[in-house]
């Protein structure tokens, strides 16, 4: 085997590496798009729980009292399956002040935090809302 053949083989190997890398980048971008679709679905799931709590606090008398909501959603774990993707949802409710701060909690207000995770397209765990930055909403007691 002469030196020319070796050089051709080396060029092929180098070129293939570059090609693989380019493919990888394109597929990474594609994965980002699909992960964002999961984020959008996650937001809809969080919105569902907020709507449910808002509705449960409505009516005279409401379905659940303000304190009952605080107890029910204090530490709730649920799974929601959408399009064969399992979303593990964690809901926490704590009393807070009107700005959502918990150190100065008042039983007139409660903050509901939602965080969830699912399996991303790259099979890593995708966190939608985290402990530090959950989906949050502050609810106000109407006196029931």
């Amino acid at each position: 085997m002469n030196i020319q053949m070796l050089l051709v083989l080396l060029a092929l190997a180098l070129f293939s590496t570059m090609l693989l890398n380019t493919y990888n980048i394109v597929l990474d971008q594609s994965g980002l798009v699909y992960d964002n679709i999961l984020y959008l679905q996650g937001q809809k799931i969080a919105d569902r729980y907020f709507q449910r709590i808002e509705s449960e606090l409505l009516g005279d008398p409401p379905i659940f009292s303000f304190t009952a909501i605080n107890t029910i959603y204090a530490n709730m774990s649920e799974t929601v399956t959408v399009n064969n993707v399992i979303f593990n949802v964690q809901i926490n409710s704590t009393y807070c002040d009107s700005l959502g701060n918990t150190p100065y909690a008042d039983t007139l207000f409660q903050k509901v935090d939602i965080q969830m995770n699912c399996l991303s397209t790259s099979l890593d765990t995708l966190y939608i809302g985290t402990l530090a930055s959950p989906f949050s909403k502050v609810f106000f007691s109407r006196g029931f």
Binding site: V8, L19, K44, L58
Partner: protein, 198 residues
């Protein structure tokens, strides 16, 4: 003879490299094109669900229309007229000063292009939204006050407090392969009818 073999060998190897380059470029273009289609489809689907603003005009989304269920309707009137897995007809007020309208959120008969989704207001022949073509049939699930599924919703209107809507929009892909798959975007959203809780 040796030179001829060298030339032939170089041609074969060169052709393989060229083929590899062209195939890779083509594949990357297809992946990029389909990704771009997916982004466009996702944006359009989300706009349809949540609404969008064109200039100074707010285009209401399906969520916004569904939130009108029972608005301005007296307690003696059933605000829900029809409740099936592919259609939902109800009474509601578009704003506090308008009269009560009849809204119809429906998937009509499928064609080779897919299943068309329409929203009507009062006039049942001229839709206010649609058609939007879906890959699969519309799937509406009705939920009661205790968050349980209402099994026979059309005969239990009084139990309905919320709906879960499952729809899938799609685009044709670029790749004309026999095993090609459509670019799809599945959305599931929930709408709680707060007027029915009051």
């Amino acid at each position: 003879m040796s030179s001829l073999l060298d030339v032939l060998g170089a041609t074969v190897v060169g052709s393989m490299v060229l083929l590899m380059i062209f195939t890779s470029l083509f594949n990357m273009q297809v992946i990029n094109y389909n990704t771009q289609l997916q982004i466009g489809l996702t944006k359009m689907s989300e706009d349809l669900i949540t609404g969008r603003k064109t200039g100074n005009i707010d285009q209401p989304g399906i969520e916004s229309i569904l939130s009108k269920v029972g608005a301005g309707v007296s307690t003696s009137t059933d605000p829900i007229i029809e409740a099936t897995s592919i259609s939902f007809k109800f009474l509601g007020q578009i704003n506090p000063t308008s009269s009560v309208s009849t809204f119809y959120f429906v998937q009509e008969s499928g064609t080779s292009e897919g299943f068309p989704l329409y929203v009507y207001q009062n006039d049942m022949s001229n839709p206010i939204i649609g058609p939007f073509w879906m890959a699969d049939t519309l799937d509406i699930t009705y939920i009661d006050m205790n968050d349980n599924v209402v099994n026979t919703p059309d005969s239990n209107h009084d139990l309905i407090r919320a709906i879960e809507v499952n729809l899938t929009f799609f685009y044709d892909t670029y790749q004309p392969d026999i095993d090609k798959r459509l670019v799809r975007h599945n959305i599931v959203f929930w709408k709680y009818f707060k007027n029915l809780y009051l």
